[in-house]
């Protein structure tokens, strides 16, 4: 390339500047507010004010109508909530019915948190992006940016711009209106005809190519799904496909002792080897015991404790004297649903003859429809309860012969 081949420098035709509008600058919010009222009264429509912070009262002064944003957000919230409910209903109750502890497939309370989260998420997204769209943001270039002073609009100055596109705009009259409002300065803003920055063509072409290239992986995925192949899938992550396993009762070198079976955890006993059969299971060599274990002596203290525990744990169903007429039972009878198994009357003959060990076991492990109290009531207390049950049974069938001779007199 020689010097002569160089193209002559392009000469930009000095086009006549196109008027964009008039920009007035104010140094405090109060003057701006008054100016805004004045401009509004003049009937102008295409104008705006620019302030470093939201000035209160400017909405009324300028006659800005309330935005529809809240309604959009409300609609989005309702939609999000419904979508959340529908999603959970369809996935967990219809398409893939999850069985969780026998609970109903569709149980509203458990679906509230996610429906709520989705309602908030969709309304928040709408509030944020709705604001951007309604405000015409992002908005990278604007003619007033050419005005050097305008940089202070986000710092400490207040501006008012009337666009020349306004039907009532008149460069002389409008200027006069602005001059009356006590501005620091009124300036003419021109249309940005010669802005040095325009998105270069190459960038746009590059973006288009990138966009097309971005579709290729999706195409390949779709193709892979639609066709069959004999090669095994590529396994990037092995996960747990290959790992050492212990086979029951076989050697396993990874453990220090080389055995696959593990010994019992130190300091523990298996559930079956109870230390004291009488105390914990109520049996003596496998047969239900007819006596109380030696650690639970038949004295006043134990009887009192037994009564307290009985009153706490048993009375709601069996009633205060064990006749099976506790509050729960009464309520269930009143409901008359036909599925209620009444609590047993503890004063029946066959229970009176039952060994204490068997009563103890019924209470500890539960019996038929009655739940187990072993996990809830400490072991000694269970024995004390049985002691008190025995006392109740004695009471229900007592004759005068049961009363000690010394006190019989007083009764007769």
């Amino acid at each position: 390339m020689t010097v002569h081949d160089e193209p002559p420098p392009r000469i930009v035709a000095p086009s006549a500047p196109v008027l964009h509008g008039l920009l007035a600058e104010y140094d405090d919010a109060a003057t701006l507010l008054a100016a805004a009222r004045r401009v509004r009264e003049a009937g102008l429509e295409r104008w705006d004010t620019f302030t470093p912070f939201p000035v209160h009262g400017i909405d009324q002064a300028m006659g800005i109508r309330s935005t529809v944003l809240p309604w959009l957000v409300f609609a989005a919230g309702v939609t999000g909530c419904l979508v959340g409910l529908l999603l959970q209903y369809w996935t967990n109750a219809v398409d893939y019915a999850w069985i969780v502890s026998g609970k109903p497939f569709w149980s509203l309370p458990a679906n509230v948190p996610i429906a709520f989260a989705l309602a908030v998420l969709s309304s928040a997204l709408t509030a944020f992006f709705g604001m951007l769209v309604l405000n015409n943001l992002p908005h990278p270039w604007h003619p007033i940016d050419l005005e050097k002073r305008f940089a202070r609009s986000t710092i400490d100055r207040f501006f008012l711009l009337i666009e020349a596109a306004d039907p009532r705009f008149d460069s002389v009259q409008t200027r006069a209106i602005l001059d009356e409002t006590g501005p620091v300065l009124v300036d003419v803003v021109h249309e940005d005809t010669a802005s040095p920055f325009r998105t270069p063509r190459a960038v746009i072409h590059g973006l288009v190519v990138l966009l097309v290239a971005a579709l290729v992986p999706f195409g390949l995925l779709a193709q892979a799904r639609a066709t069959k192949s004999r090669t095994p899938p590529i396994h990037l992550v092995r996960d747990m496909d290959a790992q050492p396993t212990v086979k029951a009762q076989q050697a396993f070198p990874r453990f220090a002792d080389g055995r696959g079976a593990r010994p019992a955890v130190g300091g523990t006993v298996a559930r079956e080897d109870q230390l004291d059969e009488h105390l914990t299971r109520g049996t003596i060599r496998g047969a239900a015991s007819r006596v109380f274990p030696p650690t639970v002596a038949a004295d006043r203290a134990n009887m009192g404790a037994g009564r307290r525990a009985f009153d706490t744990y048993c009375v709601p169903c069996h009633g205060y004297v064990g006749n099976g007429d506790g509050m729960v039972a009464q309520r269930a009878e009143a409901l008359a649903q036909g599925i209620w198994v009444p609590p047993t009357n503890l004063n029946q003959d066959h229970l009176r003859r039952q060994p204490v060990g068997q009563l103890f076991l019924s209470v500890s492990d539960g019996i038929r429809t009655m739940p187990a109290y072993g996990p809830l009531v400490p072991i000694e207390d269970r024995w004390r309860i049985i002691m008190y049950v025995r006392a109740l049974q004695r009471r229900s069938s007592a004759t005068i012969a049961d009363v000690p001779a010394a006190e019989r007199k007083a009764l007769e």
Partner: protein, 452 residues
């Protein structure tokens, strides 16, 4: 503006009016050619910790979660303790920026940006932990409902799934709220920018904001709506985190007090974190005129109040354990205070209940260093609270044969320390490059801004 700066952090003239002074005060920090030396020291330490964090995550992803001390019965060791800790930290940020906004507490403007940034960064730290705790982070997306070749859907009645939605929503809303608040301030920085790089960078972030009143109108409405949405959201998020525990059958977890107790604890710990961050930022970056002692005192009062709420919850747990008559529940709590983890329990009590009591005295409330010390102590206490709840309950459940004792490994400690590296790296970058105080909002609360 003619005078040249003596030092970028003290000297620049204030400007001719209060609005210019506020702008100058905040913007000069992001514009200064060089931050104060303390910043470099802090940043160096933070980045070192961050590298430790990243390498630990990589090791765990490669070798598996066996590197941690997490093992049955304590299957929820450090990762979940850290998750709950970080998520709790975030709550104060939303409380300050959303709830106090709705209550028209103008004093919040000075610290709201900090608090929001803290929320966002704490959330970044928080979400990492469940992500790695699942053991195979690369399939974490299985938690999302998407049609798949297995024909399966997530179990939407599980609190862990609720957590995903609650925390995901919370993170999204917090980021939007934070960013929305910064848009006008980015515009300020763009307009003041000296070089083209800054102008373009802040210009992109400001999205062409010019402070038009028609835009302010919709902006304020959007901000109010986000605040109104964030308020119930923040209360629900920690309640849902509490459900992870409360809906289980485990003694020590299975309790209806958990949701409000967790929310109170989160606000307590979060405010302590705000104080911990605000005090050094205020001292090093010379923001004393904006973040005043008055603000600090108000925050300390909130710490005192929420600390008492948390103390009430501790006491109530014991009372209910006794009152319920359930022996397992009673054992769980006696074990908590006097069992193998008693050291952790009493650390928690000392840090959370005893330390904030100094704030009954005005002299302590208004002293920056006392505030900073209590802030740090409370953060330690709140971390221990989660540790105590998780480890004491899991290590002693129904079957004594499967009792255990959780011992963290070096990887556990390094990951915890590393998460602070992530947090502080982000936070220091925020202090350096973003508007640290909500300039537009502070301006709007000045007397000369209230015109009619």
């Amino acid at each position: 503006m003619t005078a040249t700066p003596v030092s970028p952090y003290q000297g620049r003239p204030g400007g001719e009016n209060v609005f210019a002074r506020i702008t100058e005060n905040v913007a000069r920090i992001a514009e200064a050619p060089r931050p104060p030396p303390a910043w470099y020291v802090a940043f160096g330490i933070s980045v070192a910790l961050l590298l430790i964090f990243i390498s630990n995550l990589a090791l765990v992803a490669w070798f598996g979660v066996g590197l941690w001390g997490t093992m049955h019965p304590v299957a929820w060791g450090f990762p979940i303790v850290n998750f709950v800790f970080w998520i709790g930290i975030g709550h104060a940020g939303t409380l300050i920026s959303a709830i106090l906004y709705l209550l028209r507490q103008d004093w919040r403007t000075a610290i709201s940006r900090f608090a929001e940034a803290m929320t966002v960064f704490a959330l970044v730290c928080a979400v990492v932990f469940p992500g790695i705790h699942v053991g195979r982070p690369w399939v974490s997306y299985w938690m999302l409902p998407y049609p798949n070749q297995m024909g399966m859907w997530p179990q939407f009645r599980s609190p862990l799934e609720w957590d995903l939605f609650a925390v995901g929503t919370y993170a999204t809303v917090s980021v939007m709220f934070w960013y929305l608040g910064m848009v006008p301030d980015f515009a300020t920085l763009r307009n003041r920018a000296a070089g083209p790089v800054r102008r373009v960078a802040y210009g992109i972030a400001a999205m062409g904001w010019r402070g038009s009143s028609r835009q302010w109108h919709r902006y304020e409405r959007a901000y109010l709506l986000l605040a109104a949405l964030a308020t119930p959201l923040v209360l629900s998020v920690h309640s849902v985190v509490a459900f992870d525990f409360a809906t289980s059958q485990l003694p020590g977890w299975h309790s209806t007090i958990f949701p409000p107790y967790f929310v109170a604890g989160a606000i307590f710990g979060g405010f302590a974190m705000v104080v911990t961050l605000v005090v050094p930022a205020r001292q090093f970056f010379g923001l004393a005129s904006l973040i005043q002692i008055r603000h600090l005192e108000l925050m300390n009062k909130i710490i005192l109040a929420t600390g008492m709420l948390v103390g009430y919850a501790y006491a109530m747990e014991f009372f209910i354990a006794w009152y319920s008559g359930v022996t397992f529940e009673q054992f769980a709590f006696v074990n908590r205070a006097f069992g193998p983890y008693a050291w952790a329990y009493w650390t928690m009590i000392l840090c959370n209940l005893a330390a904030p009591q100094v704030f009954w005295w005005k002299a302590a409330r208004t002293n920056v260093w006392v505030s900073l010390a209590v802030g740090i102590i409370v953060n330690v206490g709140m971390w221990f609270e989660r540790f105590v709840i998780i480890c004491t309950s899991l290590s002693r459940d129904f079957l004594p044969s499967s009792w255990g004792y959780f011992v963290p490994t070096a990887y556990d400690y390094l990951t915890l320390a590393g998460s602070f590296g992530l947090f502080f790296t982000l936070f220091l970058l925020f202090c350096r490059y973003l508007p640290m105080v909500a300039m537009a909002e502070v301006k709007a609360t000045q007397p000369s801004a209230r015109v009619r």
